[in-house]
Symmetry: C2
Subunit: 492 residues, 2 copies
C-alpha cells in the first residue's frame, strides 16, 4: 500500500512535510536550509517555468543572466534594499582552500586568499543589475529595457521549510527600466496580472491582487503589488510580487537618460518575481491525505494507464487496446504513461500515482475489455467511471479540462468562504481563532496599529485589495476613521 503520510487534521504542518518528501518532490539536503529538488518536483517546476517564460516573452521580455555575486560596495548602494537583506546574506570572503597541516586529508580556508572586497551571494539582483544598466542606458532610445532572469538566490532564513522558505531557492526576477513613471507603473501592474493569470488559469489557485502596506513592502520599492493565496489551513501565502521601484535604484547607481529634448532624468524601474515557493502553494491549495492533487495544465504526467491481467495472453489483449490509445492521447497533446512494469502490483501503482497527484488514471482490465470498457478515475474527486473504449482519448481530453476547472472552482469556493468581513475587535479575534482565512476589516492606515495587531494576534495585513471599495468605517483596533477595508491573515 501507499507510503503513509500524516493526515491534515492530525498535523497540517507534518502532512505538508511528509507529502513533499513521500511524493518525491524534494528532499532535505546536507546544507542547512537548502533542499534538493528531485526529478518529479523539478519536472513540475520546468512546466511552470515554461508557461511563465512564454507569458513573459509574449509581453515583450527577454532573458539574460547576471552574476551570482554582488560586491559589498554595490550591495550597500541602495540603503533600504541593503538594510532589508543584510541580515540574511551568505558572504564569500575567501577564494581558496588549502591542506590543513593539523589534519591530514582535510582542507582549511587559506587565510592568504582573503578577498579585498567581500562578495554577497545575491538575495535579489537589483544592485548588480542596475550597476550594469548604467552602462546600457544613455538616451530614451535605449529604453525600455525589459529583461528577466531565471536564477538561484540565497537568503539565510533562520526557519526554513521545503519550497516555502529555503535558504537557496530558484526564481525568476524581472528587472525593467523605463523613461516615465507611468510606463513603469503600467509594467508593474501588467506583471501582477500575468502572475494572477498564471496562478488561476494554470495552478488553479485563486489569488487576490493587492498592494502591500509600507511595512510589508519590498526593501527599496515605492510600492509593492502582490498576489495572495489561501491555503487549506486558513493561512495566507504571498505567491508573487511586482514592485514599482520609482527612481530609487537609478539614483543609487546614477542611471540617467537623455529624453527627446536632451534633458537628463533618472530612469524609472520595476522588478517582479515568483519562485519555487509557488510549488508549496500549489501543494497546500489542492492536495489531500492521500497525496498530491495536481492541476492537469501543469502536471508533469496527466494520465497514467495501468493494466490488470493474469498471464501473457490477457496482457497481449490489453496491449492491443492501450498502444493505440497512448498514440491518440499523445496526438491530443496529453502526457501519458503506460505503466506495465511487472515490478509492482496494480494496487501499489494506484496508491503511488495518487500520491503523485496524476490527474487521471485509467485501469484496463481483461474482464472489462470483453465489454469494451475501462475504468477511468479522477484524482481530484476520486470518482471512478466506466467508460467505453470508443472515443476514450477525446473523453479524457474533456475530462482534463473539467478537472482543471473543478479544482479552481473548489479552491475558489473555499477561499471565498474564508474572506470574512468583521466590524470590531472581538469579531476579529474570534474569526481569526475559530475560522481563519482572510479577515476583511477597516484599518486606520498607521504602521503602529498594524504592528499592534500583529503582536496581539500574529495576523498581518496581507494586502489592500486593488478592487477595495471606498466606504466609511472605523479601524477595528484603534476606532479611528478608515475609508477602505484591508485583508488580514496569518501567513506563511
Amino acid at each position: 500500500m501507499a507510503k503513509e503520510i500524516t493526515s491534515r487534521e492530525a498535523d497540517y504542518s507534518q502532512w505538508y512535510n511528509d507529502l513533499i518528501v513521500k511524493s518525491s518532490l524534494a528532499d532535505y539536503s546536507a546544507v542547512r536550509g537548502c533542499m534538493v529538488i528531485k526529478p518529479y518536483g523539478y519536472g513540475l517546476w520546468e512546466g511552470m517555468r515554461d508557461v511563465l517564460d512564454k507569458m513573459f516573452k509574449d509581453t515583450g521580455h527577454v532573458n539574460a543572466y547576471f552574476p551570482l555575486f554582488v560586491p559589498k560596495s554595490l550591495f550597500e548602494a541602495e540603503e533600504k534594499n541593503a538594510e532589508g537583506f543584510a541580515k540574511e546574506c551568505a558572504v564569500v570572503t575567501h577564494y581558496r582552500l588549502k591542506s590543513n597541516p593539523d589534519a591530514p586529508g582535510k582542507l582549511m580556508v587559506d587565510p592568504e586568499a582573503k578577498l579585498e572586497e567581500e562578495l554577497v551571494v545575491r538575495p535579489t539582483s537589483e544592485a548588480i543589475i542596475w550597476n550594469t544598466y548604467k552602462g546600457w542606458i544613455q538616451s530614451y532610445r535605449d529604453l525600455p529595457i525589459l529583461v528577466n532572469q531565471w536564477a538561484n538566490v540565497v537568503r539565510w532564513e533562520m526557519r526554513t521549510r521545503l519550497f516555502l522558505r529555503t535558504a537557496e531557492f530558484l526564481w525568476q526576477e524581472g528587472h525593467t527600466a523605463h523613461a516615465t513613471k507611468e510606463e513603469a507603473l503600467a509594467e508593474t501592474v501588467q506583471m501582477l496580472d500575468v502572475y494572477a493569470k498564471f496562478a488561476e488559469e494554470y495552478m488553479a489557485m485563486p489569488v487576490i491582487k493587492g498592494v502591500k502596506t509600507e511595512s510589508e513592502r519590498f526593501a527599496g520599492a515605492e510600492e509593492t503589488y502582490c498576489i495572495e493565496a489561501l491555503m487549506q489551513d486558513g493561512k495566507a501565502l504571498q505567491a508573487g510580487t511586482s514592485h514599482f521601484l520609482g527612481q530609487n535604484f537609478a539614483k543609487a547607481f546614477d542611471v540617467k537618460f537623455a529624453d527627446k529634448s536632451n534633458k537628463l532624468d533618472y530612469v524609472w524601474a520595476t522588478s517582479w518575481g515568483v519562485s519555487t515557493r509557488l510549488i508549496g502553494g500549489l501543494v497546500m491549495t489542492h492536495s489531500d491525505d492521500d497525496g498530491l492533487v495536481l492541476p492537469p495544465k501543469i502536471a508533469p504526467l496527466q494520465v497514467v494507464i495501468v493494466p490488470i491481467y493474469k498471464g501473457d495472453e490477457q496482457k497481449g489483449l490489453i496491449d492491443n487496446v492501450v498502444h493505440p490509445l497512448v498514440t491518440q492521447l499523445k496526438d491530443l497533446g496529453i502526457t501519458v504513461k503506460y505503466d506495465d512494469s511487472d515490478a509492482a502490483r496494480p494496487g501499489w501503482k494506484f496508491a503511488e500515482y495518487e500520491m503523485k497527484g496524476v490527474p487521471v488514471r485509467i485501469a484496463v482490465g481483461a474482464r472489462d475489455l470483453e465489454q469494451n470498457i475501462v475504468e477511468v478515475a479522477r484524482r481530484d474527486t476520486k470518482e471512478k467511471m466506466q467508460v467505453g473504449i470508443n472515443g476514450l482519448a477525446f473523453y479524457v481530453k474533456v475530462l482534463l479540462d473539467e478537472i482543471q476547472l473543478h479544482m479552481f472552482n473548489k479552491a475558489k469556493a473555499y477561499r471565498d468562504e474564508h474572506i470574512t468581513p468583521v466590524q470590531n475587535w472581538t469579531e476579529f479575534q474570534g474569526v481569526l481563532e475559530t475560522k481563519g482565512g482572510f479577515i476583511s476589516a477597516h484599518w486606520d492606515g498607521t504602521a503602529e496599529t498594524e504592528e499592534k495587531i500583529k503582536e496581539a494576534t500574529k495576523a498581518t495585513i496581507r494586502c489592500i485589495p486593488v478592487d477595495a471599495v471606498e466606504e466609511h468605517g472605523v479601524c477595528v483596533f484603534s476606532g479611528k476613521p478608515s475609508t477602505k477595508r484591508v485583508l488580514f491573515a496569518k501567513a506563511y
Copy 2:
C-alpha cells in the same frame, strides 16, 4: 556603419573580445571574472540548452536541482576531486552583514555570524550529489539514476575571458549511478557521442572524440573522455567532457547497493558536462572580421528582412509582399524578423545584422519588386542572390540547410588541414610554430615526457583519439617506443 572590431589578423585575441561585446553576446561585470550574459547571448544559450535538454531526455535522463553550497566536510571527502578544485573555490564563511559603526551607511561582515562549517560554492557537484544519492540508493532496483542538472558553478580562475573561462559560468552536469562498470562505461561513451553530435550537427563545429591522459583527467575520474575542437587561430578548445568515475565517489560517500543476490557493492558513476564555454567555441570556429557567423540551427534569429523604400506608398507595396512572406517562413518553423523600424538606415541595419551573425538577410527594394524579385544575402559566404518572390519561403528553408552544411564542411576542411602528422621533434616544433593546429605524434605514454613537451612548447596532449590506430613508432620527444599517435596542440 558597423561598430569597429579589431581584425583577426591584427590581434586574434582582441578580435574575439571585441566581437563578444559588440555583438551584444556578453559584457564584463563589476565582479572580477564574472560576465553578464546579455539577451542576445542568453537567447543563443537558451537555444543550445533546449536542443541538449531534448537529447538528454531522449536518452532517458531527467533534470533535478541540488544545492549551490557544498559543506567543506563533504567537499573534501573525495580527496582527488577536493585537491583538484581546492585552489579555485569561492568560500562562504559568514551569513550576515551589519552596519559598520565606523562608516555610516556602509556595511561590514558581522563577525558574530560566522558559520560553524564553511560552505564551498560548487565548482562541480559530485560531492553534494553523491552525498544525496546515498539516501536514494539501497538496491539494484534504485538503479540506474540518470539525472542532469542545469546550474551555475564557480571556479576562481586567475585569468578569465568572456565565455571561455569565467569565474562563474552556466552549464549542465549529468550525474549517473549504475549497478555495473560496463553500464557506467557505456553511459560515459553515450554522452560523449551526444556531445559530438550536438557540436557537429547543431553548432557546425567538427570535433575529435578522445580520451584524456592521466594528467589532464578530471579530478576524481578514472577516465575522462572529451571532444576537442579547433579554433581559427590553430588553438584547440576542449568543448565537453564525459567522465567515468569508477567507484571513487561511491566509496568516498559510502554508497552501496544490494544486487539481485543481495550482495552489497559500491555503485558505479559517471558525470558529464558542457558549459557556456561552447559559445566561445562557436564564435571562434565560424566568425569573421565583420562579426558573428551563426549556424542556422542554433541562431536565435535565422532570417531578417529589411525594406528599402522612399515614402509611404513604396513602404505599403513592400509590406504587402513581406507580411505574407513572414507568415510563410514562420509556418516552415523559421524564426524571422521584419525590421521596418525607421530609426536606422538600411546600410546600418545590414552591418548590425552582419555583426550579429543572422544567417540570411532579405532586402526588399521597391524597384526590385517591380520585377518580383528580392535580394537574398548569406552571412556565411557573403553571396548575394536575386531571387523571385514565388516560392521564396521554401528557397530560404533550403538555403538555411545549405548554410548549415557549408559551415560545417568549411570548418571541417580547416580542421582536417590542421591535423599534421609529424615524425620527430624538429618537425613537431616547426609545425607548432608555423602552422599550429593539432599535431599527430607518437608519445611514450609517460607523464614526464608530456610535462617536458608542455614546458618546452606550451602544447599539451589534447586527447588520445578514440579511433587511433595501433602502429609501431617512437616517441617524438624521448625516442622510446609507442603504439599510438596522440594529438598535441596549444589550447584555450
